[in-house]
């Protein structure tokens, strides 16, 4: 039972991060390899807002979320705008460079030590008993809930929202979308903001749960196989991929060796690439990418 809970929490973490990769890739065909760093930046921003708005945890959290959405939009407007849609390789390399830069900046500004935003905010993270004898931390439960809400609303937005449909259209055929009056820059900026928003939620909740340090980028990187396993341009696929990767990781840690933790997602990815290079939902999604 505890294993199932652990899988659910880990899968939620991966899924919440993976949807950021998927959103940007699906709309603009750019792989954002700085997603983990953007997520970490959001958590550090929370550390700062926590000390500026002492005594108002919710206030601090919303301020940090607002800031990270702004960062996402800025990254698109000032860095990615020139490259998106034209130079795929340059765009990916730019995100790699951005990631390294962000890592450097966070070390300089916030130091490389492990820090605890939860204490800074004065929050406690009690462990909750679940029926069946399993336990889940409050932040873990919040993570699962946030992921469910995020996926529910993203899927509904893309399926029924006017701008959601336009985002899908722009992802399929940017030229025709532009010819239909859609400002692609606005669409891409929305995708980057949404992606950093979900990433920021993940980053903050993880930091509140288990502290904050440079290792957070590794979690971001481990969520990447989850997105890839699902086919990279499908949200449902990202969800399935996260479940698979999380289940494999938790089970192998439990039954084989805890040291496997770091490599399992990539083992799953390699196995997947050998068997189905287009990803779990890759082919079907060619026709119906939702």
């Amino acid at each position: 039972m505890q294993l199932a809970v652990n899988i659910a929490v880990l899968a939620s973490i991966y899924a919440l991060i993976a949807c950021g990769y998927v959103l940007i890739y699906r709309v603009s065909r750019v792989l954002n390899l700085a997603h983990g760093e953007l997520m970490m930046l959001a958590a550090y921003l929370l550390l700062t807002t926590a000390s500026s708005f002492a005594g108002h945890p919710l206030f601090a959290i919303s301020a940090a979320i607002g800031l990270s959405i702004l960062v996402g939009a800025m990254v698109y407007l000032f860095l990615m705008r020139k490259m998106t849609g034209e130079m795929a390789l340059a765009a990916v390399l730019a995100t790699v460079a951005l990631g390294v830069l962000l890592r450097g900046i966070t070390v300089i500004v916030w130091s490389a030590q492990q820090q605890y935003p939860a204490t800074a905010l004065g929050l406690v993270n009690p462990s909750i008993a679940l029926p069946g004898g399993a336990r889940i931390s409050l932040c873990g439960a919040l993570l699962v809930a946030c992921t469910a809400v995020a996926y529910g609303s993203l899927l509904a937005f893309l399926r029924f929202g006017r701008w959601g449909v336009r985002m899908r259209a722009a992802g399929q055929s940017p030229l025709l979308a532009a010819q239909r009056g859609i400002n692609l820059h606005a669409i891409y900026a929305i995708a980057w903001s949404l992606s950093t928003f979900t990433g920021a939620m993940a980053g903050m909740l993880i930091a509140l749960d288990s502290g904050l340090g440079q290792t957070m980028t590794i979690i971001g990187l481990k969520a990447f196989p989850a997105a890839l396993v699902g086919g990279l341009d499908s949200l449902a696929g990202a969800l399935a991929g996260s479940l698979i990767v999380a289940a494999a990781e938790v089970l192998l840690i439990h039954y084989v060796d805890p040291l496997l933790s770091e490599v399992v997602p990539f083992l799953v990815l390699i196995a997947m690439l050998v068997v189905r290079p287009w990803g779990l939902f890759g082919t079907r999604e060619e026709l119906d990418r939702v």
Binding site: R168, L176, R180, N183, R289
Partner: protein
């Protein structure tokens, strides 16, 4: 002639900084007119329409000389979405629908230039009235439509942008003649109701000359001939090369041939 809605002046378009696709093209379109652009493969017809609608980054194309004015404002090298919102909608030659979206979703994508909700739904009603087939196929994925249905959807999509000027690239491409004349008729009808101005690009002169008020013939990126529909229909070269009729009827006088040659040199 009234003030032109669109005027193209000595336009030159270059692809990849090296390939000149259009040279010295000048044309004018008055409000309410249907203007035809004829020409064989590779003449530059699509390039002309794309230049008016706006190039996208990946086209790697630029207007290097000349101007395009729409309602007095210069729009050459403008972004496609701006031109669309200014009132120019294109029915492209290829990639004309979003294949993974349903018909209904395809029609909800356009950002209308006069963006009121009521206006949009009025337009949608008009589209379904003229193309009832699209109404039946609302929930169908656009990638699964037949060629004719896809063309209807493309026209409907362009109309949902609320254009004043509609650019149609090769309506007849890959469609049976019956369907072509059917869609063309609907289009002419819709045009009257919405008082649209149109530019239609065609390889098939028979299709174009049936509806246009004025036409231009392109060859190797230059205008080699222009005139109203009757003049073009009666022109021996058009009869011979585009309408596939022999000019043995004795109508081919020496004078018109010479005029054609002279036109050629003027525009070249």
């Amino acid at each position: 002639m009234s003030e032109p809605m669109l005027s193209v002046d000595k336009l030159e378009v270059v692809y990849q900084r090296a390939i000149t696709a259009l040279q010295g093209i000048s044309l004018g379109v008055a409000p309410g007119q249907i203007v035809g652009v004829l020409g064989t493969n590779g003449a530059g017809k699509s390039t002309l329409l794309r230049a008016i609608s706006g190039f996208h980054g990946v086209d790697d194309a630029r207007v290097t000389e000349g101007t395009i004015r729409f309602e007095g404002r210069r729009i050459e090298n403008g972004e496609p979405h701006r031109n669309t919102r200014a009132g120019i909608a294109l029915v492209p030659e290829r990639d004309k629908v979003f294949p993974n979206l349903t018909v209904a979703e395809n029609l909800s994508v356009p950002v209308a230039s006069s963006g009121s909700r009521a206006d949009m739904s009025r337009r949608q009603a008009l589209v379904f009235h003229h193309f009832p087939r699209l109404g039946d196929l609302r929930a169908r994925t656009a990638g699964l439509l037949s060629g004719g249905e896809r063309q209807m959807l493309a026209i409907a999509g362009a109309l949902m942008c609320g254009p004043k000027l509609l650019l149609v690239d090769e309506l007849s491409l890959g469609l049976a003649p019956v369907i072509v004349s059917d869609i063309m008729q609907k289009l002419v009808q819709i045009r009257r109701e919405l008082s649209l101005t149109m530019i239609v690009v065609e390889q098939s002169a028979a299709v174009a000359l049936a509806v246009v008020d004025y036409g231009y013939v392109l060859e190797n990126g230059r205008v080699v001939l222009d005139g109203d529909a009757t003049r073009l229909r009666d022109h021996p070269d058009i009869r011979e090369f585009y309408l596939g009729q022999s000019s043995a009827g004795g109508r081919r006088s020496y004078r018109t041939v010479k005029q054609y040659r002279r036109n050629r040199r003027w525009y070249g």
